[in-house]
Assembly symmetry: C2
Homo-oligomer: 538 residues x 2
């Protein structure tokens, strides 16, 4: 509280200056090569604008696995791959403001080194050889600011690379850009008082989601083939869904958290996780396998020593279909997408059962209570330390819970364990291998309007792995008309219902969420490949 | 608070009546066959009193593995094994008051069934075929009272067998007796207002330890070859050490906790564990392997899916010797035992380094803060619900911590993670595979005097597995004289120092503690066998 408004603005400006300075100047497009401000859809610009060469387009539309194959076959060098992504990311930054910092110099240096090693040895250095990765800002990088969305932390310098980055670098990955996140890391959106607001490439008026919103935009626009996000209530999956890409919330304690900055790191009733966003399920697998094959638990003793397992394609899969969580009814495009998916799965001979939302309201509320168990005092202090304005979605997050006693927290922890045991038992009893569900009540909210996280946060509370996959469908005004049967169940339900307006969602991609069993990340991704093939088929 | 003193006494009496009724009457010894009340050492009585036949003695002095081998070879039947242990346990109960309930009828019925199956199939049903096990009372058994040391819970009936019992039963084990524990489960002793005080077979005036004190006495006296205890600050290891037997505190989340009763089950800053007490390291291994080979995480999704691994005998082991935790100086017999162990290890060519007590005071205090984070309100409420008198050691436990906010609890959790990372890193840096340490400041305290748990609780805070092994040494008044160099470091240190009086500890067995790395339970037990062989050699 000791600093006045000018104080926080100065702090934020210094941090913003880091971003400005870091943007690769050689790739900056002049205003005349950018679309008119009236154009809200920019996702097709890399292809249509002529700003990228055919070769640059080929590179930047590859998956991570595809890039590695092409570098191994000497079709592309790591350096040209990196330059192509830096170029596309610079364009992305001009349109979407998705970055907090570019690492052009170190990225190019590392790419050149990899090319030299490859030239000398004829071998790639690892399964992510030369793959550019974008990294959510609060995942620290040695010697660089790590603010976690708080102006007051703009002077925090990471003493080391976060462990997750170290493992990816060991595999050959190269961080070329750091990505934006909201104030407090607790919005379903990505705006802060430091580098501002990130936009959605499908429609600049729509939210990129949050808190890994910069990652969602990055992967979607092709600024990076692979990225690292984090998720405590949906923060990987919501941006993945809103930007039409893939995202995995792994089981907790498999990937290392050391080196992340967030308010109240000792909160353990819902464990945060890091995880990948990508352009294919295979790349999510590649990310997980690359790290877990290095036995990260040997470096970070807080992890569980569970290796990544190769699993066969699923046979006799039984999928539970969750159409509505009983709290907030999904919007028409989501309902349509689930119905189509269900029909295709049935037609493909997959066992499909209806999945009732077992205690979802209670589990969702439990999650909110955990988030706020300290009265959000850690976050409030980090805000007050600079005096920066508290953003509206921060106030929304602060309304999710209120300070409770340790006594109550223990009781809620116990309740959570009971829910976990019940949910696990129910899936087992009904023979359900995975659950197909909305990721969010709608396809994508407008900026500042996303608030309900129940479709994702219940899986954080229960600690089930969950993956977001695009369905291949888009919002269609003629099909996704108002739901005439709707009758509000609650104020919350009614409020979410009114947010739907199909005309604002033209051509927005529809994603769905697949949920597996705790520590069944391998089976989940294997099943996701199988299910995706069926769902996207025509 | 609504019940008067008479109310709680009635509740307790009903529960005590269950014990009285359950004692196998046919094995009860008349007063003239029991030692005179002046005799305090009773550990040798099974051998010397003539109350047990040679065959009964052979049976009841076998390890679990030895019993199974003899049943497999048709030398003994499960029924006669069970009868021998019931007989010895009845004698143990008359002398030590270690039990809360005998399960004679069901135990004999199960033993007979196993004999039939074996007769029919020629195969044992599992690795614990016919092994009698004693079980700490708060580990629930279907249809039976589970009070956890609280009078007010004397009407709590377990709906099912605790999972850990189910897995042991699947392996062929048979529960024949349930064992005593202190009020609140938080004493370094085992007395409550229900079934009273358990005594130590080496000296009835000494404590059997706690909170698994009934188990310690049970295994030591030969009432059972194998038992299940639980440990959140030393509750398996202290009774093991005080009664001269083996006890393992496994890494958390490997063995299932479902079906246990304790105050404040949602406390998660230090995870409680269940684990074995036994008469050999091999039996501790057998216990762990029997359960983990059944993949308990398939039944209890809160567990980590880490199978039991077969590991080779250690080579090039480096052992850190912790002689003093820097908080409370160990008593002379412990110091002597560690010194002798160190010399023997060196003579055997083992790498030995001195281990400095890295932040032990802070870690110990952190543990106490976690125990009391709810202001002990869960425990206080369970006491108040019956109005039973609060025992002195309960008051001591209540002084360990005071109510803190969730805000502070988060900060302490984070501090704990830092300590864990530091400690793990330090062991790795120094190449130390395991640490040899006291289990307790002394060999064994008198009743009601054991209070300092720092030598055990730090490993709960850090979540390292730890095993107690007897050294083969006993207290020797002529050798274990007062430490003339002693100068008190603190009030706590001085208070613990004055508790030492060697004349009261005549012939008490001296145990030590070996500590491994998180999830390195297998390596720890493998090393414990190796180390024990060296230490007990002459």
């Amino acid at each position: 509280m000791s600093l006045n408004a000018k104080g926080w603005e100065t702090q934020a400006a210094r941090c913003r200056e880091i971003l400005e300075q870091s943007i690769p100047k050689s790739y900056l497009l002049s205003a005349d090569r950018l679309p008119p401000v009236s154009q809200t859809r920019v996702i097709d610009l890399p292809n249509e604008s002529g700003n990228l060469s055919e070769r640059e387009l080929l590179i930047t539309e590859s998956t991570a696995a595809g890039l590695v194959a092409k570098m191994r076959s000497e079709t592309w060098t790591a350096e040209e791959v990196m330059r192509a992504f830096l170029k596309r990311a610079t364009m992305g930054q001009q349109l979407l403001n998705f970055a907090t910092e570019f690492l052009e110099e170190s990225a190019l240096a590392q790419a050149k080194r990899l090319d030299e090693v490859f030239k000398e040895t004829g071998e790639i250095v690892g399964p992510l050889h030369g793959v550019p990765i974008s990294v959510k800002e609060h995942i620290g990088i040695k010697g660089r600011v790590c603010h976690g969305g708080f102006v007051s932390w703009c002077d925090h310098i990471s003493p080391d690379d976060a462990y997750v980055i170290q493992f990816l670098q060991n595999s050959g990955a190269i961080v070329h850009v750091r990505t934006n996140e909201p104030q407090t890391l607790m919005h379903v959106d990505s705006a802060n008082n430091i580098t501002g607001r990130t936009l959605n490439p499908f429609n600049l008026n729509l939210s990129p989601g949050g808190s890994s919103g910069g990652e969602g935009a990055s992967i979607s626009f092709g600024c990076s083939p692979l990225g690292i996000g984090s998720d405590i209530g949906g923060s990987i999956r919501l941006p993945a869904a809103f930007n039409g890409v893939y995202g995995l919330r792994p089981t907790a304690s498999r990937l290392p958290l050391a080196g992340l900055q967030a308010a109240g790191p000792g909160q353990e009733s819902i464990h945060p996780v890091v995880g990948p966003l990508a352009r294919s399920v295979e790349d999510l697998e590649l990310f997980m396998k690359s790290i877990l094959d290095q036995q990260p638990w040997q470096k970070d003793s807080s992890l569980t020593p569970v290796p990544w397992r190769s699993v066969d394609a699923p046979v006799n899969l039984t999928i539970g279909i969750l159409k509505d969580d009983g709290v907030v009814r999904p919007h028409p495009p989501i309902t349509r997408a689930i119905k189509i998916a269900e029909e295709k799965l049935l037609a493909a001979g997959v066992n499909v059962v209806q999945w009732e939302p077992f205690e979802h309201k209670e589990i969702y509320e439990l999650g909110n209570a955990f988030f706020g168990a300290d009265g959000f005092r850690h976050a409030r202090e980090a805000l007050a330390a600079s005096g920066e304005p508290v953003l509206p979605l921060t106030e929304v997050a602060f309304s999710w819970g209120e300070e409770i006693t340790v006594y109550s927290n223990w009781d809620l922890n116990y309740t959570r364990e009971i829910f976990r045991a019940h949910y696990y038992g129910l899936m087992k009893l009904l023979g359900v291998d995975l659950i197909l569900s909305p990721t969010y009540v709608g396809v994508v909210p407008e900026h500042e309007t996303g608030t309900y996280i129940g479709y994702t946060s219940v899986w954080n509370v229960l600690d089930h792995p969950a993956v977001v996959i695009p369905t291949g469908l888009q919002v269609d005004q003629s099909l996704d008309t108002e739901d005439k049967s709707y009758a509000p169940r609650s104020e919350l339900d009614a409020a979410e219902h009114t947010k739907y307006s199909p005309e604002k969602l033209k051509d927005a991609p529809i994603c769905l969420q697949l949920i597996g069993q705790r520590f069944g990340d391998e089976e989940l991704l294997s099943a996701a490949k199988f299910v995706e093939k069926i769902i996207v088929s025509s």
